[in-house]
Amino acid sequence: MWKTTLRRFLIMIPQIILLSILVFMMAKALPGDALSGLLDPSVDPSMIEAQREKLGLNNPWYVQYWDWITKAIQGDFGQSFRFKMPVTDLIGQRITNTIWLSLVTLIFTYLIAIPLGIISGRYNDTWGDRLITGYTYLGFAAPLFIFSLLMLWVFGFHLQAFPTEGSVTPGLVPGTLEYSFSKIYHILLPALSMALITTVSTVQYLRSEIIDTKQRDFILTARAKGASESRIYTHHILRNSLLPIAAFFGYEITGLIGGTVFVEYIFSYPGMGQLFLNSIMLRDFSVVTALVLLYGIASILGSLISDIILSIVDPRIRIK
């Protein structure tokens, strides 16, 4: 067991190094560098050249990479020329919003997936199952951005049941109960929109897992021994099927990241996804670089956690 875990950890190290190189290459490919945003274009070119030399921008790429990565490890991603503040502080302001959004989405995802998956799997080929299967079909095909837009249009604008932008009603004092409620209220619609789409694969997985398990010999034995149907489900089938699903949350992170970019953009929700898009449009590339690196590391860690948990829960899927 520890061997699998250790091996998985060792795989992660080259992954993170590869990621950092990829991000560094991307940063180099992005037009402009640390200076182009900071300096007035009218400054004497020789002055710029001197500055470039001083900042090490004329060094060979591996030296630049090393400088960049050692600073990044210490949490220094440079300055955002647009907001005139350190990138780290800027991301710090937005990260909590995105984490809350992701967390609520994850909770919704499981809240929807577990009952639907169980109903669909336990009573398969009934009209209820067909309804749920139809929904998963639709959710599987529907692009998140179209679905979110329709949700915003229907519930935000037409029914006016939810706020249509921001993360909190302006003017409220942080720390008050009202403020917290307002934050939750603002998260609900974007999180629900995202969860309704992302939950589909989990519903499908749970359904097929239950249908698969309930015909296994040990379930038939339990039934033959006279165990009640509800006991069979709570004690045998669900115990087997729910654990892997819980472990999937790490894999969900990559999907969530992509999702938050769309959802934050559509609901004008001030998180990292929105910051990312804005920074790209404003050519504030030091922010972009930091965000991609951060997101990449989050995804790598997510898959690490899921792989390890799954290898503990289910020895069959241990990585070779």
């Binding site: 991307m26 529907a142 179209i146 329709l150 970019v261 898009l277 790209i280």
Partner: protein, 302 residues
Amino acid sequence: MNKVTGRIEEELRDPSTSPSSWTILWRELKKDKLALISLIFLGLTIVAVYGVSLVLDQKQIVRVDLFALYQPPSAEFWLGTDYGGRDVFGQLFIGTRNSLSIGIIVTLLTGTIGILVGLISGYFGGAADNLAMRVVDFFMILPTLMIVIAFVAAVPKYSIVSFSLIMTAFLWMGIARLIRSKALQEKELEYVKASRTLGSSHLKIMFTQVLPNLSSIIIVTMTLNLAANIGLESGLSFLGFGFPESTPSLGTLVSYARNPQTLEYRWWIWLPASLLILVLMLSINNVGQALKRATDARQRRG
């Protein structure tokens, strides 16, 4: 089931028919009403979109007309006009054509790379395969969307070609992984070993012996990938990182909904494109899922 199997066997006995993957899949597809309707819809859409856009003058449609801003649907403009006074209905046709085209191009490109990498990696195995799959795993974990966006922003002379290349660069891994695992199973079968003893080269075995046996799975995956790629392209265009503004995509039309006024009051601009994307993706997925079931059923029967 028996009747069907019997009929298939009967047809196969006829020396003129060959049970190519296509004929088998087509036969299964015909039994699935929803998928058949989807396929007919897709066919009609493709004919309509490519046919009509031959007649339509793209330049004229994307020309700004300041005297016809935000016109609601009328006899002249069937789906009204957008913020530049451009005909939404015409843009819908051109947008669908562009979205479909890029979807097909990216699917074919990623398919080709994925099949090549997967086949070679799975067939030869060993250390190179191990390394290739580690790299593939790595790229599959990454948040591809953001990296694609960053690269779109990074490319200096941005065009449709560079857009499809960027998408391809980050999307071939899934199919490579799938083909690799299938090739790994397939190469253990004795017909591959037999081919070796009969003097066929590895290259020949890979492409003329193993590849035909993967054709069903390739067709299914490519179909599902097509839907995903159209979704991703329109999503990127929606965010403003897809097609250049001069070539409208379905996502471009949807992106006008970013203006709250448009979203709330001018449904004709963004809703038709949104629904069209939805229906297109549903149809392609229906076809793909039906094909998938067909191949599974075949495996059960065989």
